[in-house]
Each structure stands twice: as C-alpha cells, then as structure tokens.
Symmetry: C2
Subunit: 506 residues, 2 copies
C-alpha cells in the first residue's frame, strides 16, 4: 500500500476511536444529568462494553502494522520525514495513544470502566449521606485500578508519576514539587498577611437567591461571552464538568445553591472556559486525535483564566454587575460595585476547593497532590484519608471540615479514578497567567474590552495563539511557542500579589 493509503486507513481508525469515545461521553453526560437513579448498573455495563470494544479495535494488530508501515515507531513516532508536519504530528500522537492503549489488557479496560461508573454513582450517594465508609471500597478499587494502569505502562516503582503523565505529559512528581513548593510558601505567606487585615464584607452573597434566576443569569452570561448554543448547552449536575459529545456538541454543567450566589455562576464561567477551547479548535484538526487540548493543565489554564483573571476582575463587573443587579434587585440594589468586587475576591481559608478564592485555591490543590503522592507511595492507607485530610487542612489553612462531605468526599475526581488530575488546576493558574501576560502585550487595553463586554478579540487571540495548536504541541513546547518562557510560578505570584495588595491595601 502506498503511504497515502496507509495514512487514510489510520485516519479511519483514529476517527472511529474518537466517535466511540464521544458516544461514551453521551452515556456519561446522561448519567450525570438526566439518568433515572436505578439506571446506573446497566449504564455501567454499557459504558464498559463500549470501552472494551473501542480498546479492542484501537489496539488491534492492524493499527500497529499500519503505524509501522507509515514509519511510525515508538522510537521515531513521527514517521517518514518527507511527510507534512501535520501528518507527522498526527502519527506522533496516534503512536503515543496506541502505545499507551496497547499496554492495557482488554479485560482490564472493561473492568475499570464498569467499576468507575459504579464508583462515581456511589460517590454521589456517599457525599449526599456524608458516608465515607460506604465509598471506601470503591475508592480502594479505584486506587488499585490506577496503580495497575501505571504499572502496565511501566511505572512500577513510581506509579504516581505514571498517573501524572496522563494529564500533564512529562511532569512527574519531582517537577511538580519543584513548582509547588515556592507556590505553597508564597501563597501561605500572602494568606497570613491578608488574615491580619480587616475582613471584607460579603454577607450579602449569602442571601436567598432564586436558583431559577441564577440559571437565567448564567445563560445570559454565556450569551454575552459568546457561547454558541447551537453547538453546546448548559445543564445541571452534582459536579460541574465540560464534555465534548462531538466537534459541534460541547456541553457544560453547573449547579446552583440558593444561598451561594457565586458558586453556580463562577462554575458556569469556569466550564465555559473549557468549552471555548474545545469549540474553537481548528477545523483542519477536526476528527483527528490532534483535535484536543494540549494537556489538562493547559485546559485548566483556559477555564481558570475566564473564571478568575477575567470574571473576577473589577472591569468585568463594570459591565456585568448592572445586569446581575437587574436579576436580583432586592438583594443587590444597595451594593456598590467596589463592594461587590471585593466580596467576590475575599480571600479566606475555606473548606471547598471549587469555592475557594484565588489565593488559597492552589493550596487546596497542593493538599490533594500530597495526599495522592502518599496514597501511591503506600505511606497513606485509603481508610485513613479522612483523618489525613483534616490534618492537612489544619496545617495548610488552619481549619477543619466537620463532615467528610465537606472534606475528602467533596470532589468527583477520585471516584472516577482520576488520580493525578488535581495538579492540573494549579498548573493551569501558572500557564494561564503566562498566557495572559502575553495576550496583554498583543492586545491593547484588555481592561476596556472586558469592561465593555467585548470578549471577541480575547477569544480570537486565544483561538489563534493557543487553540490553533490543538494537541500538536506538548505543554512545554506550547508555553515556549506562545510566551518564549518556561513553567514558573513567578508570573502568577506577581499577578496574585498585585491583585490582593490592591484589594486589601497591603
């Protein structure tokens, strides 16, 4: 077969693999949003079966043979140098995915998928009932599956590195510690300085806010941000997430609490940031394994950029606060914009990661990183997690959750076996501020754009500068291409110090 015939066949294999992954996303999205309670067992079987079929088809000897024929080997994944740069990137990425998948036995993939579905459903209940013991057997199983996965990939002595590599290729435990250590120190110091200042008044945020109206406002926000509802939607789920059901079908979820005005709204914006990345991937990568984010850290850079750098800025609310006030006139009429801005940025030790301010947020992440590290080194027994959680919360933030629902059970990730994911959030902060610095060099006066609600130039810059690469560049390459720099906490720390110096007059 000539090389074009080989590439064509590989593109079919790749595209079928994606179609199955996205069909899975439909099943999972449905499970989190609308599925009736008792559907969970059979849904787990359906997901497991399709997962197994997808794995079996993707890792068939035919795929390996075609990759070899295209000159793509594990050592030289890009294949023949006379191919176009795009095809070489395609081969490189497909080979990487293939090698990873081929190392996992089919039964393992099916069993893990089924267990994950049941585990996630068990977590939803356990969290609701504040019952860690009910979740523990699932959690233990998830840890074992994750450990085995890393071991199949060859990370026998350091399985956690293997898991981190899924979400942030090339960033192991040591590399992350090197970045997290100064971050932890500086953020802790900043938290202490802030604690010495007078409290910011944010009591008005805990009034009763009708959840229907919160949802209406969130939809209006999405519209103003340019979220295309012909290609996506917003729904409600226990834990907010973004999922791609197709190139033209990107869905986000959120949830609303009557006495927490910020929670649902900022979750919506966070997920919208993820969705923009997926929706605005370049057309020439469509339907290939390159049509994806560069890494979870880069993905989180987008969600956290929109959520925090943009939507927690004073300028953003110059345009939006009058809109918000029109939804809740009784609650917000007496609130000046400056007071609102300070309230939504109030820094204070708190229990829930997704509700945390920008200063303490990364500390929540580092806490999880350390717990994961200890779980996989064997230093920490899963049964002891609630205790370890409380201890670390005390050490990091000086507070302790009264319930596990507000502690170790608060996040969905572990229930899905997504160990190694959490660091992406803090890395996202670092990538995001580096990107934002560069964006501000390229675009004149972003403050005014944001204040005017004119987000198109920002979305266009992100699209043409970051999204355009899809998954062609690994995170360090992407960072270098965009900012000419490498990963460091400095830009983020400068941003956060300057912002909080302003808010608290430090």
């Amino acid at each position: 077969m000539d090389i074009n015939g080989v590439l064509e066949k590989l593109h079919v294999i790749d595209s079928e693999n994606r179609h199955l992954a996205r069909a899975q996303s439909v099943l999972r999205w449905d499970q989190e949003t609308y599925m009736p309670e008792k559907g969970v067992q059979e849904r787990a079987d359906q997901v497991a079966l399709i997962e197994g079929i997808a794995h079996e088809r993707f890792t068939s000897p035919e795929t390996g043979r075609l990759l070899n024929e295209a000159g793509s080997t594990s050592e030289n994944p890009g294949g023949d140098e006379r191919l176009s740069a795009l095809e070489r990137d395609f081969l490189k990425t497909l080979r990487r995915d293939y090698d990873k998948a081929a190392l996992l036995p089919g039964d393992f993939v099916t069993d893990a998928a089924r267990a994950e579905g049941l585990s996630q459903a068990a977590w939803v209940n356990a969290r609701q009932e504040n019952d860690f013991a009910a979740f523990l057997p699932h959690l233990t199983k998830m840890i074992e599956f994750a450990r085995s996965r890393a071991e199949y990939w060859g990370w026998k002595d350091n399985p956690y590195d293997g898991l981190l590599d899924i979400y942030e290729p090339g960033m192991g435990q040591d590399a992350i510690t090197a970045v997290f250590a100064p971050l932890k120190d500086e953020l802790s110091a900043l938290m202490k300085k802030i604690a010495a200042e007078p409290r910011v008044d944010d009591a008005f945020l805990s009034q009763e806010y009708n959840v229907e109206k919160q949802a209406d406002f969130s939809r209006e926000l999405l519209k103003r941000l340019g979220f295309d509802t012909e290609r996506g939607r917003l729904d409600i789920s226990a834990h907010p997430f973004t999922t791609m059901l197709g190139s033209d079908d990107v869905r986000i979820t959120t949830r609303f609490y009557p006495r927490q005005l910020l929670s649902g709204i900022f979750a919506t914006i966070h997920e919208a940031g993820h969705a923009f990345y997926e929706m605005d991937l370049p057309h020439n990568l469509r339907g290939t394994c390159l049509a994806d984010g560069a890494s979870m850290g880069i993905h989180e850079s987008q969600s956290r950029l929109w959520e925090n750098v943009i939507a927690r800025s004073r300028h953003f609310w110059e345009g939006m606060f009058p809109v918000l006030r029109s939804y809740f006139p009784a609650a917000l009429d007496g609130v000046p914009i400056e007071g609102f801005y300070r309230a939504i940025n109030r820094a204070q030790p708190s229990l829930i990661r997704v509700e945390a301010d920008e200063v303490s947020y990364s500390l929540h992440v580092i806490l999880r990183f350390e717990l994961e590290r200890d779980l996989f080194s064997g230093a920490l027994n899963p049964a002891d997690l609630p205790k370890a959680w409380r201890e670390k919360m005390r050490n990091f933030l000086g507070i302790e959750p009264e319930t596990d629902a507000d502690g170790v059970l608060q996040d969905v990730h572990w229930s899905m076996g997504a160990f190694g994911y959490f660091p992406s959030y803090a890395l996202g902060n670092l990538y995001g501020s580096a990107f934002w610095q560069k964006l501000n060099e390229d675009l004149p006066d972003t403050d005014t754009l944001i204040a005017e609600g004119n987000f198109a130039p920002i979305r266009t810059w992100l699209r043409d500068t970051i999204y355009v690469h899809g998954r062609r560049l690994k995170p360090p390459e992407l960072l270098k291409t965009v900012t000419v720099g490498s990963l460091s906490p400095q830009t983020f720390l400068e941003y956060i110090n300057s912002k909080y110096t302003g808010i608290y007059g430090l």
Copy 2:
C-alpha cells in the same frame, strides 16, 4: 464444549447486542431531546458506527457456529428438545434475530443508520418549515433502504410484506387488508352517523392552557398511574416516543401546546402505556432478547389501552377531573364532568392522527397503510405523496390539509425508515379490546378501580397475563393464550359502537 457452555456464550453475545442497542437508544433519545442543533452530523456518524459494530459482532461466524452447536438451525430454531422451554424460546428468538441480521451486509447497516439520523433531523426541519421538497430526497432514500432491507430478507416480489413482518411477525399485506376492510367500512359508517348528530361542544379545550402547568399535571398523572421515576423519566421532544435505555431506565417523551389541552396529556398516557410494558417485563427474561414486547401491535395495544379505553373513559375522569381542574381553575371551573367526558371523546374528521378520536383514528392508520402499500408496489411515486395524501384524506374523512406539515409530514415514522409500522396502531386497538374484555372477566368492577384511581390491580393483571411472556410468544399465540381467540375487529367494533352510542345517543 458442553451445551451449558454454549448457551452461556450465546447469552453473552445476546446481552452485548442489547447493551449496544441500548447505548444507541441513549444517543437517539439525546438527539431528540437535548442535543444542540449542529451536533446532528457527528451524532449520525456515531450512531452509524455503533450500529455497524453491533451488527458485525452479532453476525460474526462465531454466533452462527454457537447456535448450530446448540442445535438451533433456521429449520429447528429451538434446538435440542431436552432444553428448558425458556432456553428453547431464547434460542428460537436469537436464531430469528441472527438470521435476519446476517442477511444484511455490514456496510448497508451502517449506511442506513447514518442516513436515518440525518433524515430524521431533516424531517424535523421540513415539518417546521412545511417544506416537503426539502424532505423528499431523504424520504426517497429511506424508501430505498427499506426496500433493500426487505429484498435482502428474501421478499423480492413483495417487499412491503417483508417490512410489515418486522413489526407484526406473520401479518402480511393480505392478512392486514382482511382485518382493515371491515374496520374501515364500519368506522366510516359510524363517522357518518355521528356527523348527523349535534356537535359536541369542546371549545373550552382550546383556551390558553399554560404549558408548564400541563407538564406538572402530566407528571402528577404519571405518579397516580404508578410510573416509577426512579426507573424512568418524562421529557419533551418534537414527536412523543418511548425508549428503553436499560431494564431500569425507560423514558417517555411528550410535547405540550398552549391551546390544545388534550394533546400533551394523552400523549403522556399513551407513552406511559408503552413504558409500563417495558418496565414490568419479567425479571427472568432480563438482559435477554426475550425481554421485549411481543410485537409493535401488542405494544400499541398497551399504549392505546391506557390512552383510550382507560383514560378516555368517564370513570377515569371521575377521579382525575377534579385534579385537572385544580391546575386550571379559571378555564375548567364551569365545565361539568359529563361535558368534559363528551368533549374529550368528540368524534370528528381531523387532520392529525395523534389527535384523532377513537372512531376516526384507525382510518388515519388505514390511509397510511394504503399509501405505503402503493409506495412499495411502485404504484405511487414518493414525489406524489402530498397529492395522494390529500386525495385519500378527502375520501376517508372528507377533509384536506392546507399544509404538508398537517398532512404527509406530520409523522416521524417514514423519516426513520419505519415503513410497515403504522398498521400496528390499528392492530393495537384490536388486540387491546380483546385483552380488555378478558381483563374485565378476571377483575371485578374495573370501572370502580379506575374511578378510584386504583390502577395497581390493572397493572398487575397486565403484567402477569401479558408482559410475563415478553417476546416468548408471537402475537397470535399470545392472543390465543390470553383470550382463547384470534385476531378480529369484532370486539373493538362492539366497544366503539357501544361507547359512541352512549356519547351521541345514536
């Protein structure tokens, strides 16, 4: 391998086939309810791919070999006579499904599935825009796919018989004509008698009824009927349908119009009738090809029994009318229950099948049956359907639609290639009244049960008498087992004559 090993393997193949079919149902349900507009193309690709994979796996030589090993052949599908009756029924049904599937080429299955997805989406638009021309190419393609399907199955000279056989095994064009001819005559005669009587006043049904409240009332109705929301749900779609996403996940859809109080409510009850059948299938058949309705006609007997025989009875509204009135006091406070009962049963020629009264309903079905018959005999060109539709409407009911949206474009079925399905509705009326007659012999005083809103005994009887057989018995066997009779229009005609003699004082 011993027979138990063979059976076990066949059960795995069967169960995987079902899981894939149900995963498809999730994708299709989502497409009809929540999918963003532009997701349609990729969704069609996903559905087509999984359809192809399911077909490839189910029709693999392994399945045929195992069936043979179990002694199940096309001639003796039940296999070894020493097997249990249940296993023999399992083999019989699996062999029938396998033979049918194996005759269709894989590419054909994939292409048809993809085309159906796109066709259905095109129909939604065409109906909205009243644009038959835009739908015609899809319709033509659907007819060709259906014809090819029948031809692959060996119905070369009479493809329509092959299509009818999908939904009502053993009922060909001639057998159906034999039942439909007297039905058509008697129902037409009854329509004429009714037309000579004074009109029933149902103007109050066309007042403005808030659709949110209609939805709330429908949910309350479902609750009172015993619809289990832990195992199912109600959503909104362009065309009401019921779908099984799992043994414990049965979903129905409806839609509400502000000026048609009855439409959405009776659609809800109709679909609930389908759902009860699926939800109450016996546990010992779970996860096998026997856990299904006996035929579409039997399925429609259930939906139409609940919708009409039960929910359009006077007794039903003795209990429910006060409830309905509490949702719409302004509109219904002056309406006496007798007036309501007469209004919801008012018989009058009308354009839309799903809104038709019980007398004219079957005439709508027979009209479609005749059109399908002519399409597949070649006597009717698809492009001439709108004209043929209007002519037949004039002949059958003396009225004509002003738009194709209210005519040939009103039903979803043809857009999905489901030719041969329509007769099931009228057959459902016949089966349903036969079952109802028997139920009334077994259960004392169903009128009182219905008036008291005590539906459990009726649901239990249906479960233990009809649903218990799943797909083990073919429709004629089931009818014989339950009623000791065979298919005839008599019981239905007696029911309808007696009911309408009462309403119109004929």
